[in-house]
């Protein structure tokens, strides 16, 4: 009898230990408490950043506040997972044409190019939603007088020429005004390269290049319906 009790005690003791170690390792009681206390929308705010990364919590907030039941165009200025799914609608034409959302918006941006080999520089990112390259700034200790600049975007095997131009400066400088319009190029995909050539020896001293960009969307052209940090819900001014 004693042996049997010992056997059953051992058996149930193992099962109880399993249960509590499982509950502890998966934070069961804490999770149960939070699921009971917070509703689904509150937990969305906890799980996703409000206005950072994919900003799903901001999108959910707008969706419920403005009772949006159609698609809204979303432009994320940083590279994050696509949050389009928040407004997913089977009908592609079911879209608010006069509204848009900007996430992680920056009025100006930049692409840093590091030296790949002599005279050839490779960009660190391909930031989307910038319409203009304002200027190129060279990281060098010597000023430049004459230079040929060639900017390309390489997508797989194809190389798309964005700019090829000679620059001659009256006064030696480390900056070039480019005013390159990017509207007709889709630079979201691919790898950006800058090739510099010239007769001057000081081009070898260029260690890096920074392109200064201007946003495609100017907030002055929109009515701001909602703003949280750098996330905007906008309506086009007609």
């Amino acid at each position: 009898m004693k042996k049997k009790i010992k056997y059953y005690f051992f058996r149930y003791f193992i099962l109880i230990v399993i249960f509590f170690s499982l509950a502890k390792s998966a934070n069961f009681f804490k999770n149960f408490y939070f699921v009971n206390r917070d509703d689904y929308n509150s937990r969305i705010k906890k799980n996703y950043d409000f206005c950072n990364h994919e900003s799903v919590a901001f999108l959910h907030f707008i969706k419920s506040k403005y009772k949006l039941n159609k698609k809204v165009e979303i432009y994320d200025y940083e590279i994050n997972p696509n949050p389009d799914w928040v407004f997913f609608n089977l009908d592609n034409n079911n879209i608010y044409k006069n509204k848009l959302i900007l996430l992680n918006y920056k009025k100006t941006g930049e692409i840093k190019f590091s030296k790949f080999k002599n005279g050839l520089f490779v960009g660190n990112v391909n930031p989307p939603y910038y319409s203009n390259v304002e200027k190129a700034i060279f990281s060098t200790n010597k000023n430049i007088k004459k230079i040929n600049l060639k900017i390309t975007n390489n997508i797989k095997e194809e190389s798309i020429l964005l700019l090829s131009k000679n620059f001659i400066f009256e006064y030696p400088s480390k900056e070039i005004d480019l005013n390159l319009n990017l509207e007709k190029f889709d630079i979201r995909l691919g790898k950006l390269f800058i090739k510099v050539t010239g007769e001057e020896n000081n081009l070898e001293h260029i260690e890096g290049i920074t392109l200064k960009l201007i946003s495609k969307y100017d907030l002055n052209n929109f009515k701001i319906l909602e703003k949280a940090d750098n996330c905007y819900f906008l309506e086009r001014l007609s």
Partner: protein, 435 residues
């Protein structure tokens, strides 16, 4: 409180959907099976049924729910009839449900979707959730990714009354826990040790990120179940009708896998190769598994072509230009980087470490007690295929390795739980003095 009730209800609904009546097994002349065994069979058939239903077009979408309702009612009927008088109160089933409940609450509180899940998988899921059909997937990015995992996710989210997307992912949790409880049935010990073994394996493997919308967890569970039925057919004492039944289940498992992730085709072919080289099995049996599987693969390509979906396995990874210049990828630098990350991937999947250690032990000291040749072959072939995926990728190698090698290794890890089970069955009496 409603949501808590919904989570419990969701688990119950999944359990009923995945129940496989003993009466059906009697019809196939298969003996009495445990509840866990029947539910694991039911889950495989449930996934296959959902695969077939996923091809119903948008106009007849209601038909899916009519068929599912009929299946649900039949299963519920048999569940009650067959388990009348508390037969269902099986300790293993109770613990399986405890695991599912605990992890479901973890998911309910931490339901953030992963990167690829937000980019691709959830969009496919929402397509089905909003009653779009498979023919609509032509409008999506990464259209070549198969849809079954998303379809399951959508259907189970849809049948919940709160209709939150994460409720659909509870099926993934259920299937994962079930696969491990099911494989533990191969142990020659009583239910306490089976529960203990399942618990250790689950706790070693579990991570909430496995359920962030990625599909690897389904592949892991499918291949874990595959390894169980593979083990049953290579066992000497199995009867003929049971072996044929296992053959059918293996076919269903491998067919399901290729509709969840594309790389599952490569792994499935490796597993089929293992079946083909089995010495004591009839050619007809091998052909009976191989030919319908090949047919399903061909059918998949035909269906994708018909719908207008890209048929390349991983469009962005292996384009034709890369195939023409394979030699360029095979450099010392690339191979060493792949090996480095591969080692990290193995270390982070702890089951591999335990299993490989035990396999080596049995190789050197096992003598005639254990024959693991199939597992050595599959380990080598799986590892070689994973290494080759990465060595020949035209994408930034380090980025791709960092992002995915752990997950790809995880997909086939379940197969190597079997050597652990064999080790325990053979050596535990000596080591632990278990009877």
């Amino acid at each position: 409180m409603i949501e808590i009730f919904q989570i419990f209800l969701q688990i119950l609904i999944i359990l009923i959907f995945c129940y496989f009546p003993q009466s059906y097994l009697n019809f196939f002349n298969i003996g009495q099976q445990s509840v866990i065994e029947r539910i694991s069979l039911g889950s495989i058939i449930n996934i296959f049924t959902l695969l077939l239903l996923s091809f119903i077009n948008q106009k007849n979408f209601d038909l899916i729910f009519i068929i599912l309702s009929i299946i649900f009612c039949i299963n519920l009927f048999f569940l009650i009839i067959e388990n009348w008088k508390s037969k269902l109160l099986d300790a293993k089933l109770i613990f399986l449900l405890i695991f599912v409940v605990v992890f479901s609450f973890d998911l309910a509180n931490n339901f953030k979707l992963g990167w690829d899940a937000q980019n691709f998988w959830i969009l496919k899921t929402l397509n089905f959730f909003q009653e779009g059909d498979v023919y609509n997937l032509v409008n999506f990015s990464q259209q070549e990714y198969p849809h079954l995992g998303s379809f399951i996710w959508a259907i189970y989210a849809k049948i919940s009354f709160l209709e939150y997307e994460y409720l659909g992912r509870i099926f993934y949790i259920f299937f994962f826990c079930l696969a491990i409880f099911s494989i533990a049935e191969l142990l020659y010990f009583n239910y306490v040790y089976k529960i203990l073994f399942s618990s250790v394996i689950i706790i070693l493997t579990y991570n909430i990120h496995l359920f962030n919308g990625y599909q690897e967890i389904l592949i892991f569970s499918i291949f874990t179940l595959f390894s169980k039925y593979f083990y049953l057919i290579i066992k000497d004492n199995a009867n003929k009708s049971f072996i044929s039944f296992c053959g059918v289940i293996i076919f269903l498992l491998l067919s399901n896998s290729i509709w969840i992730k594309n790389e599952a085709i490569f792994f499935s072919l490796i597993f089929l190769f293992l079946i083909l080289i089995l010495p004591k099995k009839k050619f007809l049996f091998k052909l009976g598994i191989l030919s319908p599987f090949v047919l399903v693969v061909i059918l998949k390509f035909i269906i994708f072509k018909k719908i207008g979906i890209n048929t390349s396995l991983v469009q962005s990874n292996f384009d034709y230009n890369s195939i023409l210049h394979l030699g360029n990828f095979f450099t010392l630098d690339r191979v060493s980087v792949v090996f480095l990350y591969f080692s990290f991937g193995i270390i982070s999947n702890l089951i591999y470490i335990i299993s490989i250690f035990l396999m080596l032990f049995m190789f050197f000291y096992g003598g005639n007690k254990t024959n693991l040749s199939n597992y050595y072959i599959s380990l080598v072939l799986n590892f070689l295929s994973i290494l080759s995926f990465y060595i020949f990728t035209p994408h930034p190698l380090e980025w791709q390795l960092k992002e995915s090698i752990e997950r790809v290794l995880f997909e086939v890890m379940g197969v190597y739980i079997i050597p652990i089970i064999i080790f325990i069955n053979v050596y535990s009496k000596k080591i632990f003095k278990i009877q």
